[in-house]
Each structure stands twice: as structure tokens, then as C-alpha cells.
């Protein structure tokens, strides 16, 4: 904090009622020097008699505020003296109106000394927050109630201490650049205050590029995509569980505060720009059924996110998780890739069909009588063949119950071609494997497979592998999708097969409702 000392610079009222000792040119000048040889004393014995003086001023910068204003006076009080001191502000110069603080009394003999009047006014005497105008209009009032000379008070010097504090600043360091590893990036900043005051609060607002690039944008008044509200905390970061859209550029605006007389004194907003570019889980499928006989809604959510691990899905490291099943050798190849830089190569041992599957050690949990889907992309090294992807359903003992292939499609040496399959799991199904097949391959013929996925539901969909701990947020709208609120027991954890069911017993009656869901997963 900084302190500026102001001195008297003009008489405001009743200078003629006070005598100047020591030869100063004016009453206020006698109080503005630092000499004990110049001072003022009331002229007559008529009581009470007051003198008022104005002060010079100081400029309050745009990045600082007044913490307090205090008064110090160098005085000498007579034997049975009684003098009052107060500080005021001129609120109407032409009407000569002044609002004063409650006066402080000094009495009964005080040798010449500089006294802290201890007003420490955190707001102006008129009750308002200190402003430049109020600082420009400070007035000191001195009232001497002595009736005889020996009791009179002399004033030698006056000082007004204006204490200011600098506005805090910050630098927002993250998120920045392209965020690929989380949908919920952490906002991190560095707080700074020239006076060393600690952070008392912060506020985060995230705006998409359409908003912050729009006309009339202001982080203070524009509507953010998500906001934290004012958080009373000294933390320098927060992760916002926000609905940020993928492939969208945002700015995280942050402002921080320090305490100023018990209230938050906020910095300007600072921001960090980032783009959300995650390889996110697939949007789930959601269905809802109202049981009018029971009065509740059953919501079923099927995740469609690939349950293969990262390497099984894209073969970027090795062939772990894959094994040759029939008439082939499998290898990781960088000759062709549809995702990343490698794929699974199948080399035929002899003429005929060749197949490879995910390993039994990585068999995927399934539930009976449920739709599951798989996808895989095929590319031939030279000769085009019919290719297909399939699902092997197994019972709890690991015995194959059935194998279902999707429609066979010819691959090509010029590009990858996606094959898909959807099938309903048998009543005794417990686990499943993904199988890829090249039909009637020639001996030593090579075909590549990449972007392989397996998930619940009947809408085959590719996402990267390696996700785990699936859950779904479920919300309900009863105003045709304008606003949504989270329903009870959401988020709901999904089974290993990415299936979850939730009952909404509190659905409002005689309305039209809509439900929505999004999938969350860890990588």
C-alpha cells in the first residue's frame, strides 16, 4: 500500500477568527509548513470558534483505490483546554456544504506534539466510497472551546494521509493451445499484487469464439458458455465440469480479487485462449419410456465408445491384444495406416480365408440379448478381396456360442474401406471377441486392418480405444429443450458393456419432457 501526505492549501472558513504566530502569510500556510515557529490560535475568547482549511490533492490512478484517509495534527492544548478535530468533504462548493466525520476531542494539557487523530476513514464522511472528487475536496475543521488564554489550543501543522492500494493483476496460463487429453481443462492463473495483498476471490467465465468475437463483447456482461461465479478462495486454478463443445475455440476469462475494507477489489479480466480438440467418447444413444401404469420413466443409455484398448484399436505399438485365428500371421505394419501410423497386417499362410481375433485375455464383457457392434477398416496390399468384421459371442465358460459377420465388402489397395457388423448377443453370452476376416486370400497375400472398434448398440461407430470408467450424465427438460436439469442419481455409472438404466420417479405430470445424455470416460 502507498501513502500520500496532503497538506493545507486554502482557507475554507473563518480564517479571520484565528491569529497567526511566526509570520506566515495565511492561516493555512502556517499549518502547511513544518516549523513549530508558525502556528494558529483562536483570537477571541468567545466560544465556540472553528477554523476550516482545504488540502492539496493527489491523483488516484485508474489501477488503485483509496483504502483509508487519516488525519494527523501537530498541536498544543492548554491547561484546561478542549479542542475538537474532524475531517470532512465539501459536497456542494457553491452552497458551502461540508459533511464531517464525528469530531475527536483533545483536552487538558498536551505539550506540543504530533497527534494521530486516528480517524482512519475507510469511506468518506458523507458515507460514500472514496473517489477522486472526494479526495479533491477534503476539509479539516478545528474547534477550540477554551474560554481563557491559558486553556487555548494551538495548531502547528496538519497532515492528511491518503492510503491507497494497487489493483491486483493476473496472468492466465492455461488452458492454452489445443487441448487433446481432457474435455474439462483446468483454468490456471498467477495472481499478482504490487502491495503483497493475498488473493481473496476469483471468477472464471468461458466464452466461445462466436461470443468473444461478436460485436459489443464484454467479459463482464456477455453471456458465457460456463461460469464459476465468484468463488471466495485463494486457489490459483479450477477445473470446470462444463459442456464445452469439441473442435471449438474458447477463451477462459479470469478475474481475481483482494480484500479492500472487507469487500473484494477485483482485477481486470485476463484470458487464455484454447481449442478443444479431444478424441472424445462417442455420443451415447438414449431412449426413454414412460410407464403410465407405474408413473415413472425408464431411461436406457447405451454407450458407443470403443472398448478396445488403444493398441488393439490402432496397432500403434505392437500386436498385443490380437492373435491369428486362421491361416495367417499377424504383425504390426507401418506400410499403411488409417489412424496413427500403423495397422494390423494379415499375411495368408496359404490360399483361403484368413482370420484374426482379439485375444481371449481381453474378451469384452457383454450382456445377453443386447445389441453390440464392431467396425474395422481394411486395405489390401495388392489384390482386392472380400473382407468382413465379426463378433464372436462366448458364454461364461469361454466357449464360443456364435460368430456373426457383417456384410462382406471388397477392400482396395488405394484406400481403407470400413466394414461393420451389429448383432444381438445370445441369451447365455458373457463375453465377446472381435474377429476380422479376408475371404479367399491368395497365399502370402497381405491385407491391412485399422481403426477397429467394439461397443454396445446397433449403430457401429469408431472412436479411439483406451477408454475406461464409463458414466453418463442424464438431464431432463420440461420446457421443450430450452433448459435441462440433472435428474436424481445422475451421473450413472455404466456397466462394462457401457449400458446404464435410470428410473425417473419424479417426472412432472401433464407435461412433455425430453431427456438428454452424454458419455464421460477416462483415458
Amino acid at each position: 500500500m502507498a501513502t500520500v501526505v496532503l497538506r493545507p492549501n486554502a482557507d475554507w472558513n473563518n480564517a479571520s477568527g484565528f491569529a497567526i504566530s511566526g509570520g506566515s502569510a495565511s492561516v493555512h500556510a502556517a499549518l502547511a509548513d513544518n516549523s513549530d515557529l508558525t502556528y494558529i490560535t483562536r483570537t477571541s475568547d468567545t466560544v465556540p470558534a472553528s477554523y476550516e482549511t482545504e488540502f492539496g490533492t493527489t491523483t488516484i490512478g485508474a489501477t488503485e483505490k483509496v483504502v483509508s484517509v487519516n488525519l494527523r495534527a501537530r498541536i498544543e492544548v492548554g491547561t484546561a483546554g478542549n479542542a475538537q478535530f474532524s475531517l470532512g468533504v465539501i459536497t456542494d462548493r457553491n452552497g458551502r456544504t461540508v459533511s464531517y466525520s464525528v469530531p475527536v476531542t483533545k483536552q487538558n494539557t498536551l505539550a506540543i506534539s504530533t497527534v494521530d487523530i486516528a480517524l482512519n476513514l475507510t469511506s468518506a464522511p458523507n458515507g460514500q466510497v472514496w473517489t477522486q472528487t472526494l479526495i479533491d475536496n477534503l476539509v479539516f475543521k478545528f474547534t477550540d472551546n477554551a474560554k481563557i488564554l491559558a486553556d487555548k489550543t494551538s495548531v502547528y501543522a496538519l497532515y492528511v494521509d491518503v492510503v491507497t492500494t494497487a489493483q491486483p493483476t493476473l496472468t492466465v496460463s492455461s488452458p492454452s493451445g489445443t487441448i487433446t487429453d481432457t474435455s474439462f481443462p483446468s483454468v490456471v492463473w498467477a495472481f499478482s499484487d504490487a502491495d503483497g495483498d493475498p488473493q481473496s476471490a476469483y471468477e472464471i467465465k468461458i466464452f466461445d469464439s462466436a461470443t468473444y468475437g461478436g460485436a459489443g463483447f464484454s467479459p463482464s456482461t456477455s453471456t458465457p458458455t460456463v461460469e464459476s461465479g465468484i468463488i471466495v478462495s485463494s486457489n490459483n486454478g479450477q477445473t470446470l465440469e462444463a459442456d464445452l463443445a469439441n473442435s471449438t475455440t474458447y477463451r477462459a476469462y479470469v478475474r481475481v480479487a483482494q480484500l479492500l475494507n472487507g469487500d473484494n477489489y477485483f482485477s481486470q479480466f485476463a484470458f487464455s485462449q484454447f481449442t478443444l480438440g479431444v478424441n472424445a467418447p462417442a455420443s451415447p444413444t438414449i431412449s426413454a419410456f414412460y410407464d403410465s401404469g407405474q408413473g415413472n420413466v425408464t431411461i436406457t443409455i447405451l454407450g458407443r465408445t470403443n472398448v478396445l484398448n488403444v493398441n488393439q484399436a490402432s496397432l500403434e505399438t505392437n500386436t498385443d491384444g490380437w492373435v491369428a485365428l486362421l491361416n495367417c500371421a499377424v504383425a504390426r505394419s507401418t506400410a499403411q495406416a488409417s489412424d496413427g501410423s500403423a495397422s494390423l497386417s494379415l499375411t495368408a499362410s496359404a490360399s483361403g480365408d484368413m482370420t484374426a481375433t482379439t485375444t481371449t485375455a481381453t474378451a469384452f464383457t457383454v450382456t445377453p440379448n443386447t445389441n453390440f457392434s464392431a467396425t474395422a477398416e481394411f486395405r489390401s496390399n495388392t489384390t482386392s478381396r472380400s473382407t468382413a468384421v465379426g463378433i464372436i459371442f462366448r458364454n461364461s465358460a469361454g466357449t464360443t456360442i456364435s460368430t456373426t459377420f457383417g456384410t462382406a465388402e471388397a477392400d482396395s489397395s488405394s484406400s481403407f474401406n470400413q466394414c461393420t457388423v451389429s448383432a444381438t448377443s445370445p441369451a447365455t453370452a458373457a463375453t465377446a471377441l472381435v474377429v476380422v476376416k479376408v475371404i479367399s486370400a491368395g497365399s502370402s497375400e497381405v491385407h491391412f486392418v485399422d481403426k477397429i472398434a467394439f461397443h454396445a448398440g446397433n449403430q457401429p461407430f469408431w472412436t479411439r480405444g483406451g477408454f475406461s470408467t464409463f458414466s453418463f450424465d442424464v438431464e431432463r427438460s420440461d420446457d421443450l429443450g430450452v433448459t435441462y436439469t440433472t435428474i436424481r442419481n445422475s451421473p450413472v455409472n455404466a456397466s462394462n458393456a457401457q449400458i446404464a438404466t435410470l428410473e425417473d420417479y419424479e417426472v412432472p405430470l401433464d407435461t412433455t419432457v425430453t431427456y438428454r445424455s452424454k458419455a464421460k470416460a477416462e483415458i
Binding site: 401404469g293 408413473g295 436424481r488 420417479y505 445424455s517 464421460k520 470416460a521 477416462e522
Partner: protein, 141 residues
């Protein structure tokens, strides 16, 4: 571990009509639920207001100081026949939490059962039980 999130998928709009039944659901423990049970009429409801009455010396009229009205409280009387119906009702009847109530008139509210009494009559193999429970209307948990 980082958490990734998908976009939203919406259902089609669903019309929710009044099911015209009684249901009592422990929404925080929804396996405790009973529906389509017999609730006797008339329904007893009351709005209770705690108040104090002052008659200050010298005043010409009484002064009443009261608390807020905290909802519509009351009682329900259930009738069950046989052990199956009673076994369905009993866990809800004795649940020490907040129940979501939905009545055939389409009214919904949250209640807390506080007193339970019942009578039994009839053949031991087909007992008819009349249970009465007092409740307070409470906030959603």
C-alpha cells in the same frame, strides 16, 4: 487419468400423463417403492402454524406471533389384504427417509412418515390390515 466427454444425445419428446395411481417412492433408495395400493378416503390434511398469543396490558386487541407455514401435513390410511400386499407396503411404511408421493389426482409432494399404527382383522391366512400413518410435507431431498 483425464476425463473426456461426448456431446449430448436427446430423446424424442415424451408426453407424461397422470398415471391415476397412488405411488410412494423412496427416491434416494428407489428399490423401496409401492404403487397402486389402496388409500382410504377421506384424506386428512392440515396446515399447522405454531403461534403465540399475547394480550399486553393496556392494549385493546390480542397480538398473535406465528412461525411460517411449513406445508400441508396429514395422514394416510392404507388397506392391505394378505401377506403379499402387506409385505410390499411394510418397508415403505417404516422407511425413515423422504418419500415422493404421487396421488391419483396428479398431485406430487415429498413427505416424511412419522407415526404408524395398524389394525389386523380376519382370517390368519388372509389378514386385512388398516394402517394409519401421519406425515409431514418436506423439501425434496
Amino acid at each position: 487419468m483425464a476425463v473426456l466427454s461426448s456431446g449430448y444425445t436427446n430423446t424424442e419428446p415424451i408426453q407424461i400423463a397422470n398415471a391415476l395411481i397412488w405411488s410412494f417412492t423412496a427416491v434416494e433408495s428407489p428399490t423401496l417403492r409401492v404403487t397402486q395400493l389402496r388409500v382410504q378416503q377421506p384424506l386428512s390434511s392440515a396446515i399447522v402454524e405454531s403461534y403465540g398469543v399475547f394480550k399486553p396490558l393496556g392494549a385493546s386487541k390480542t397480538i398473535v406471533v406465528a412461525t411460517s407455514i411449513y406445508g400441508i401435513d396429514g395422514s394416510y390410511e392404507f388397506t392391505t389384504q394378505g401377506e403379499t400386499e402387506w409385505n410390499d407396503l411394510y418397508p415403505v411404511l417404516t422407511y425413515q427417509g423422504i418419500l415422493f408421493v404421487h396421488d391419483p389426482l396428479g398431485r406430487q409432494k415429498y413427505v416424511r412418515f412419522v407415526d404408524r399404527t395398524w389394525t389386523e382383522v380376519g382370517n390368519i391366512n388372509n389378514l386385512i390390515r388398516n394402517a394409519k400413518v401421519n406425515y409431514y410435507e418436506v423439501e425434496s431431498p
